[in-house]
C-alpha cells in the first residue's frame, strides 16, 4: 500500500465515521401498530422524505397499540403512532414526558367504519346503534380506543355497556369469532372485510363529527431536545400523507398487508381521506378520552386536553411553511 492509498483510506474512514455520527444524532425510533393508517410513514420513508430531513427512521411494529406510549415514556422509543390512552393520561399526570403532537387518523363519513356486524345477527341491516342492544360485541381491551368508541356509540343511542355483552379479544381473534358466529359485532376500526357475511355498522363520524382515532406522540427526546428534529419529522411525515392521499402506494404494501392481516387489495383500496393532511389535533376528541378514562376509573385525575397536547411542532411547521 503506498502513501497516497493509505491517506485515501484514512480520509474515507474519517468521513464514514462522521456520517455515522450524524445519522445516529438524527435517528428517530418509531413504534407503530400494523394498520393501514401507518401507511404514510412507509410512503415518506420510501420516497426519501425523511432522508431529505437527514432523519434515519427506525420503525418497530408492535401489535398492541396500548403498549406504545409506555415505551415512549420509558425512553425506549421517540415517537408512538397511537391513540390517546388512559396510560398516557396517567403518565402525563405524574410528570412523564409524552405528548400528542399531531393527529393521524380521523373518522370520515362514508370512508371509515368503526363497527362491523355479522350479517346473520342483523337481518334487517346494521344501521342504528340501538341494534347492538343485547348483542355480543368485541373490543380489544377495557381501556382501548375500541372500548371508548363502543361507549360513545352506545351513549349516542341512550345505551351503555351493560346493554351489550362486551367481550375482549384482539382484532385477529374477533374477525375469526365473527365469521364463526361466536360474536355479533366487533369494534375494529375498518378492517376492510372482504366477506359479504360481515357488514359495516353506523359510523361514529355521523355521531361525533371531527372524531380522531389516533395521533402522533413524542417522547422526552423530541419534546425537550432540538425542536427542529421533531418538526422535521412531522414535515416529512405530512409530506408522506399528502403523497399517499394523492395516490402514492408504498412498495411495502404486501408487508403492510401481512402485518395488518389484511389482503393487499384491501390495503390498496382503503379509504385515504381519513388521514388528515395538516395533522391538526381535535381537542374535543382528546378531552372526551380523558373524561371517559376518569369516569371509568382508568385515569386517576382529570386534566385539560391542553396538558396532553403540544402544539409547538405544528406551529413551527405552519410558520416555516407560510
Amino acid at each position: 500500500m503506498n502513501r497516497r492509498t493509505a491517506l485515501a483510506l484514512l480520509a474515507g474512514a474519517s468521513l464514514a465515521g462522521c456520517r455515522r455520527a450524524s445519522t445516529a444524532h438524527r435517528s428517530i425510533r418509531v413504534v407503530v401498530a400494523p394498520n393501514i393508517s401507518a401507511t404514510p410513514l412507509y410512503v415518506a420513508d420510501e420516497l426519501g422524505f425523511f432522508a431529505d430531513e437527514d432523519i434515519d427512521i427506525r420503525t418497530q411494529v408492535i401489535a398492541e397499540s396500548l403498549q406504545m406510549v409506555p415505551l415512549v415514556a420509558a425512553g425506549r422509543a421517540d415517537v408512538a403512532f397511537s391513540s390517546v390512552t388512559p396510560a398516557e393520561i396517567n403518565i402525563v399526570a405524574r410528570g412523564g414526558r409524552v405528548r400528542v403532537v399531531a393527529a393521524r387518523d380521523a373518522a370520515v363519513l362514508g370512508c371509515t367504519h368503526e363497527v362491523h356486524g355479522r350479517r346473520a345477527s342483523f337481518p334487517n341491516g346494521f344501521v342504528h346503534v340501538a341494534e347492538l342492544k343485547g348483542k355480543r360485541v368485541a373490543v380489544t381491551a377495557a381501556t382501548s380506543l375500541t372500548a371508548f368508541i363502543l361507549d360513545l356509540l352506545l351513549e349516542s343511542a341512550g345505551l351503555n355497556t351493560a346493554d351489550v355483552e362486551r367481550l375482549m379479544m384482539r382484532h385477529s381473534e374477533s374477525t375469526a369469532a365473527l365469521l364463526a358466529g361466536q360474536l355479533d359485532a366487533a369494534v375494529d376500526m375498518d378492517r376492510n372485510f372482504s366477506t359479504p357475511d360481515i357488514i359495516p355498522g353506523p359510523s361514529i363520524a355521523a355521531l361525533v363529527p371531527g372524531f380522531q382515532y389516533s395521533h402522533i406522540q413524542f417522547g422526552e427526546r423530541l419534546l425537550d431536545g432540538d425542536l427542529g428534529l421533531g418538526t422535521a419529522f412531522l414535515r416529512a411525515y405530512l409530506r408522506g400523507v399528502r403523497e399517499y392521499r394523492g395516490g402514492a402506494t408504498p412498495r411495502a404494501l404486501s408487508r403492510i398487508a401481512a402485518e395488518s392481516a389484511m389482503s393487499p387489495v384491501a390495503v390498496l383500496h382503503a379509504c385515504r381521506e381519513r388521514l388528515p393532511e395538516d395533522g391538526r389535533v381535535d381537542r374535543t376528541t382528546v378531552q372526551r378520552m380523558i373524561d371517559w378514562s376518569v369516569r371509568n376509573g382508568f385515569a386517576n385525575q382529570s386534566m385539560d386536553a391542553a396538558q396532553i397536547i403540544d402544539t409547538r411542532f405544528l406551529e413551527r411547521l405552519a410558520t416555516r411553511t407560510s
Binding site: 396500548l66 403498549q67 406510549v69 409506555p70 415514556a73 420509558a74 390512552t85 388512559p86 396510560a87 398516557e88 396517567n90 403518565i91 405524574r94 410528570g95 412523564g96 355480543r136 368485541a138 381491551a141 377495557a142 381501556t143 382501548s144 367481550l167 375482549m168 379479544m169 384482539r170 385477529s172 381473534e173 375469526a176 369469532a177 364463526a180 361466536q182 360474536l183 378514562s293 382508568f298 385515569a299 386517576n300
Partner: protein
C-alpha cells in the same frame, strides 16, 4: 427462629436497599415505585376487595382446570404405564400435546367453545392433563420389578398388586406431577387472563399495564408469585401427609 431469619433476611435487605434508592431519588418512581408506595397500594387493593376477589377468581380457575385435566391425566398415565396397548396408542398423542405451546391453542378453543370460561378451563385442563399423565406414566414405568416380585412371593394376586405396590410406589411421582401441573395451571390460567381478560390476577396485571398504574402492576405480580408459592407449599404439605414414605429431599 433461625430458619425464619435465614428465609427472610434477603428480601428484607433488598426492600431496604430499594426504599433507600427510591428516597435518594436514584429510581424513577414512574417505572420503579418505592416499596412504601407498593405497601400502601397493596393495602388499598386489599381493602377494596379487588386483590382478594381477583386472586380467588384465578385460584378457582386454576384449581377447576387442574382438576378437569389431572384426574383423567393420572388415570391415563397409569394405564399407559401398565397396559402396553394403551401406551402405544396414546404416547404419541401425549408427547405431541406436551410439545405444543398451550396458549397457541387458545384462539382455536375460543372458536370451538366460544369466548368464555369453557375455552379457558379447557386449555388449563389440557396443560394439567399432559403433565400429570407423563408423570403418572413414568411413575409406573419406574417401579422396581423386585417390589412386584416380592409382593407376589408373599402371595399377592394381580388385583392386590394395584393397592399394595403400584399405588404406594407411584404416589410420590404422581404428586410431583400434580405439583408441577398445578403450578402450570396457574401460569396458563394467568396467561389466558392476560390474552383474554375477564377477571383474575392476569386481568388485573393487564389493566394495571394499560393504565400505567405501576404500583398496582408490581403488587399484582407479587400477589401472583405469592399465590403460586402458597399453592406449592399447600400441595407439599398434603404430600407429606398422604405420602409419608416419600424420601425427603436432602437438606
Amino acid at each position: 427462629m433461625k430458619r425464619l431469619i435465614r428465609v427472610s433476611w434477603l428480601p428484607i435487605v433488598a426492600l431496604l436497599l430499594w426504599q433507600t434508592a427510591a428516597v435518594a431519588g436514584a429510581l424513577n418512581p414512574l417505572f420503579v415505585p418505592a416499596p412504601a408506595a407498593l405497601f400502601s397500594s397493596a393495602a388499598a387493593m386489599i381493602r377494596s376487595g379487588e386483590l382478594v376477589g381477583n386472586a380467588a377468581a384465578t385460584l378457582g380457575r386454576a384449581v377447576a382446570g387442574f382438576t378437569i385435566g389431572s384426574v383423567p391425566g393420572i388415570a391415563i398415565g397409569l394405564a399407559m404405564g401398565r397396559v402396553g396397548a394403551v401406551r402405544q396408542s396414546l404416547e404419541p398423542v401425549v408427547s405431541a400435546l406436551n410439545a405444543t405451546p398451550k396458549l397457541s391453542l387458545f384462539p382455536l378453543l375460543m372458536l370451538l367453545f366460544g369466548v368464555g370460561e369453557t375455552a379457558r378451563l379447557t386449555i388449563i385442563g389440557l396443560s394439567s392433563f399432559v403433565i400429570t399423565a407423563i408423570h403418572a406414566f413414568d411413575a409406573v414405568r419406574n417401579i422396581h420389578p423386585g417390589w412386584v416380585d416380592m409382593a407376589r412371593n408373599y402371595g399377592a394376586r394381580s388385583r392386590d398388586l394395584f393397592g399394595a405396590v403400584y399405588v404406594p410406589a407411584c404416589l410420590p411421582q404422581v404428586f410431583t406431577g400434580m405439583r408441577l401441573g398445578l403450578a402450570n395451571a396457574l401460569v396458563v390460567g394467568i396467561s389466558c387472563e392476560l390474552v383474554n381478560p375477564s377477571s383474575g390476577l392476569g386481568s388485573l396485571i393487564w389493566l394495571a399495564w394499560q393504565t400505567f398504574a405501576t404500583e398496582r402492576l408490581y403488587v399484582t405480580i407479587l400477589a401472583t408469585a405469592l399465590l403460586g408459592s402458597g399453592l406449592h407449599t399447600g400441595l407439599r404439605m398434603l404430600e407429606r401427609r398422604l405420602v409419608p414414605w416419600k424420601t425427603p429431599h436432602a437438606g
